[in-house]
Symmetry: C2
Subunit: 281 residues, 2 copies
């Protein structure tokens, strides 16, 4: 396993593989790797000759009041995990490597970026789209692997790749959950014991929604109202949003039909958590 | 010479060249080719195994009141010129090939796009940066050739490639002029005989500026004032802007020093023309 910091060094190291036609799989991460990331790495390992994992806590996707500073950075543990999963290249750029002092170019995926998490986090998805464009240009992978847990991010990156003719296949892998249902997230590390229990309301609310849909419920408003009821029982939980939207356009649906994304963001104490499921009717 | 419309067909046609390591040179155009374009094509022909010329009148870079509809499209003449210059591929996408109905991803180069031509043409350089990103992703050239006549565009594309880690070399070739000094432009076709003569004020004002700089003038304000004087003698000429800026940051300079871009946009009748020179002190 090679650990590389300068973008150009990685680009050149991969050039040979690219020219020989070896397939390159890429898993972008902000580190603090958990079983969700590992599932992406394993899928990439199965499907490609070369795999690249990037670890970069991207300042451009954090708002001024967000958790950029305290975001976990257990680098040695992350590298050990990558080694164990037979990663070929870990890309570990510094902030200066990625954002020059006069950096001023941004990629925006309009419409999709201003809804759901984009409301509480203005600029977040512009930061995501910009860093992913940069990483894709440096690595030029055949396939990029993303987690369904960050559904909006995955949909935005897929749209961006299509709109900008980026020659990469976007694979979205299922959310990995703990046995009690909590979706894995690097931010779960912020939760204390009590909050960890309260955090179960997210997946429970989604299970309730699924149950309702499976038993024939068609009205998003009613389903959302039942989810709100369930979550409001936890005093420590503050709903940011609950939405039922078309899984491609992210526009609210009037009726459950086709492929719908049921997504929510809830603050448990000071920690903002997200989760989602897709229902197909 | 192959003429190709669908982006994916061109991408695949070039794949073999890319894998064999053949260098690809790319000249993006909106057609209505003139000697300026030809100079780019010839430079590309000299330096690359494969050359690609795109002809696409990009709606995203025209404002609602601009000349998208009347922009000249002499396709057969353009193709004959490309054939004569031994172009390998002419990329001729339709608007639908480039902008799907739900297209929503844009590339913006901030700061550089809001000055000079960006003031009278809001959104113009976002349209340029977006189409060039798309073309670079489809063609993946080693070198892209641009004309100095569109100085701001060239500087923006250079900055964009650097900021987004697009692995392409940006070559900027000198403005080609008619014997009397008029910079070649597809928009010169809009000028009638009288306007064609009046249009000489642009290059004359630049020559005057150069003369003043060469004879020791240091004050941008004074140089601009002399240029305005000269242009105001033509009743048919309306100045959009005259600017003396740093040739990299496009910020106004207080004093002529280093590498300065002297640029202007002037309306001759209904036709907006631009021109520029770089002075090095």
């Amino acid at each position: 396993m090679k650990t590389i910091k300068p973008p150009l060094v990685l680009y050149n190291a991969l050039k040979k593989s690219r020219l020989s036609g070896s397939s390159i799989g890429f898993v972008p991460t902000m580190g603090a790797l958990h079983a969700g990331h590992i599932s992406l790495i394993r899928q990439a390992r199965q499907e490609n000759a070369i795999i690249v994992v990037s670890i970069f806590v991207n300042p451009a996707q954090f708002g001024p009041k967000e958790d950029l500073k305290k975001y976990p950075r257990p680098l040695n543990k992350d590298l050990a995990l990558c080694r164990k999963e037979r990663v070929d290249f870990v890309f570990l750029p510094s902030i200066k490597d990625i954002y020059s002092e006069d950096f001023s170019t941004y990629v925006s995926v309009e419409k999709l970026s201003g809804v759901l998490c984009g409301i509480a986090r203005p600029g977040h998805f512009r930061g995501v789209a910009t860093i992913v464009t940069k990483l894709l240009n440096i690595i030029q992978p055949d396939v990029i692997y993303l987690g369904q847990k960050d559904a909006q991010q995955a949909i935005i990156i897929k749209k961006m790749a299509r709109d900008l003719n980026i020659p990469v296949k976007v694979k979205i892998m299922p959310t990995v959950r703990q046995s009690d249902g909590l979706a894995l997230s690097s931010r779960n590390a912020y939760l204390d014991k009590k909050e960890r229990l309260d955090a179960l309301v997210l997946s429970k609310a989604l299970s309730l929604a699924k149950l309702l849909v499976n038993s024939g419920a068609k009205s998003p408003l009613r389903i959302i109202s039942r989810m709100k009821q369930l979550i409001s029982r936890k005093k420590n939980a503050r709903i940011d949003y609950i939405a039922i939207v078309d899984a491609a356009s992210l526009k609210p649906v009037r009726k459950i039909s086709g492929e719908c994304l049921i997504a929510l963001a809830v603050r448990i104490g000071r920690t903002r958590l997200i989760d989602n499921i897709i229902v197909r009717v």
